[in-house]
C-alpha cells in the first residue's frame, strides 16, 4: 500500500466515484466525481488536532461501528492519502453553519467549509475494475439472532476486535458486557452455499475462521474455539496443513454440522443447537460469543458501476468473465481482478491483478521495459 502511495507513476484519486464512460478500448473518456473533503489535501498534515476537539461523534465504518469517530476524521491511521475528511452528514458547520472549531484549531489552515464536489475527466486507454468484497448482512438469517443477540457478531467485526489497532486493542471484549470472550464459536456458510440466500461458496471463510481461532489462542492461552462447518474448503497452497495445525497446535475443535438455532441465556451467552453429523446427535453448546462467517458478496454499488461501464454481471453480481479469459469483462478494454470477479483470497487477488495489469498493458502495446513497441 505504501509503495503504491509513493510510486511516481500512480496517482491516487481517493474519495471519488466514476460517473460516466465513453469511447472504446485504447481511447476512453471517464467522468468522475471528486467528493469534497472540506479539507485542502495538500495542506493537511494529519496532525489530528481537529478531531481531538471535534464535539460530534458518528459511527466509524472502518471499525464496523464498534467504535465512534468524530465528524472530522481520518479513515484509518495508516490510510493513504493521510489526510482528514469532514463528514458532511454530521458536521454542524456544513449542516447549519454552526461550530467552526476545527478551522480555529488547524494550524496549517487546511479546513475549507466551502469546498464543493468537483466533476473531473480522465482520458485513458484501459480500465481495470477491482471493487472487491463486503459481507452479507446476516440479520435475515433470523435463527442466528444477529442484531438481536448482542454476542453474535460477523467475521469482519471480529477482525476489528482482534486487531491490536482496533476498538478493544485486540482483546476479545464481547459486546453485551465487555467480559473477555474465552469460548468462541465460528459458524461457516451463513448465507453461502444456501439455496435461500447465496448459492455459491464464499471460499475464504473456512480459512479465516481458522485464522481467527488461532489469533484468539495467541492472545489468550485459555481461549477455546469451535468451528461449525459443512465441509472444509481449504484449497490454497499449504492450506490443508494450516487446518491441521489449527487442531494440533491451537486446540481448535472442528464440528461437522450446521447450527439450527442460536438462543440467548440469562447471562447473554449464546446457546447453539446443532446436529453433530459425525455422531448423529442433536446437541447444544454454550459459548461467550459467536462469529458468523456470513457470505462474502460483491461490494455495494457494483450494479450502478456496471451500468456506467456497460459491463455485464452474473446473477450473483460478480463481474462476468469467461473461464479462459478470467480478467476480461464483456467490454473490450475493460478488465477485472480481485473479489469482484469471483470469491478469492488475497493471494489469488494479487495474482489475478497482475494478470489484469498485463492484459491492459498488452492492449496498449506496452512492454515491461517501459518502452512502447514499434509495431
Amino acid at each position: 500500500m505504501l509503495d503504491a502511495g509513493r510510486h511516481p507513476n500512480i496517482k491516487i484519486l481517493a474519495y471519488s466515484e466514476v460517473q460516466g464512460l465513453e469511447g472504446k478500448a485504447g481511447d476512453f473518456t471517464v467522468q468522475y466525481l471528486k467528493k469534497a473533503r472540506y479539507i485542502k489535501e495538500e495542506v493537511c498534515t494529519a496532525c489530528g488536532a481537529c478531531a481531538e476537539k471535534c464535539p460530534i461523534k458518528a459511527d466509524n465504518d472502518f471499525e464496523m461501528g464498534l467504535k465512534k469517530r468524530k465528524a472530522i476524521y481520518i479513515y484509518f491511521p495508516q490510510g493513504i492519502p493521510a489526510v482528514y475528511t469532514i463528514d458532511p452528514e454530521h458536521c454542524p458547520m456544513i449542516l447549519k453553519g454552526k461550530c467552526g472549531l476545527c478551522a480555529k484549531l488547524c494550524q496549517a489552515g487546511a479546513i475549507d467549509y466551502e469546498q464543493k464536489d468537483e466533476k473531473k475527466t480522465l482520458h485513458v486507454g484501459a480500465v481495470i475494475v477491482a471493487t472487491g468484497v463486503t459481507q452479507f448482512d446476516p440479520s435475515v438469517v433470523t435463527e442466528y439472532g444477529y442484531g438481536r443477540i448482542k454476542n453474535v457478531i460477523t467475521g469482519l467485526e471480529y477482525e476489528r476486535l482482534i486487531s491490536a489497532s482496533g476498538p478493544t486493542k485486540g482483546h476479545l471484549y464481547r459486546p453485551s458486557d465487555e467480559k473477555l470472550a474465552k469460548r468462541v464459536a465460528y459458524i461457516q456458510c451463513v448465507g453461502s452455499r444456501s439455496l435461500k440466500y447465496k448459492d455459491y461458496c464464499s471460499s475464504v471463510c473456512c480459512m479465516y475462521a481458522i485464522k481467527d481461532a488461532m489469533l484468539a489462542r495467541e492472545h489468550d492461552e485459555e481461549a477455546e474455539s469451535y468451528i461449525f462447518y459443512s465441509d472444509f474448503r481449504v484449497m490454497g497452497k499449504r492450506y490443508q496443513q494450516y487446518r491441521l495445525r489449527g487442531a494440533e497446535d491451537y486446540g481448535i475443535k472442528y464440528i461437522r454440522g450446521r447450527v439450527a438455532e442460536i438462543i440467548e441465556d440469562a447471562e447473554g451467552n449464546p446457546v447453539l443447537w446443532y446436529e453433530d453429523t459425525r455422531t448423529r446427535q442433536v446437541k447444544s453448546l454454550t459459548v461467550d460469543m459467536v462469529v458468523l462467517c456470513s457470505a462474502a458478496v460483491p461490494s455495494k454499488g457494483v450494479e450502478q458501476l456496471a451500468e456506467v461501464l456497460g459491463i455485464e454481471l452474473t446473477p450473483n453480481r460478480f463481474v462476468k468473465t469467461d473461464p479462459f479469459h478470467p480478467t476480461d469483462t464483456t467490454v473490450p478494454g475493460i478488465f477485472v481482478c480481485g473479489f469482484c470477479q469471483n470469491p478469492k483470497d488475497i493471494a489469488e487477488s494479487v495474482s489475478q491483478a497482475s494478470g489484469a495489469a498485463s492484459r491492459a498493458a498488452g492492449l496498449l502495446g506496452i512492454t515491461s521495459s517501459g518502452k512502447r513497441t514499434v509495431a
Binding site: M1, A4, H7, P8, N9, I10, K11, I12, L13, A14, Y15, S16, E17, V18, G26, F28, V30, Y32, F62, M64, I74, F76, Q78, I80, T85, V124, G125, V127, I128, A130, T131, G132, V133, T134, E159, A164, G166, G170, K211, Y239, S299, C337, G338, F339, C340, D345, I346, A347, S349, A353, S354, A357, A360, A361, L364, I366, T367, S369, G370, R372
Partner: protein
Amino acid sequence: MGSKDVLVIGGGIAGIQAAFDLAEMGVAAYLLERKPSIGGVMAQLDKTFPTNDCAI
C-alpha cells in the same frame, strides 16, 4: 487520440497490485477509490492467513 494511461477502479489489494504492476511497466495508473483512503478489506484485517502476518 488514444491514451496509454490506465484507470483502476477500487483501491483494495487487487487494485493496488494492478496499479503497481502497470506503474512498474512505465504506465501512468490512476487508482480511484470511493472511500477516503485506499486499502480495502485487507486494511481491516489484523493478520492474514495463511502466514498470520500483519496485513498492513
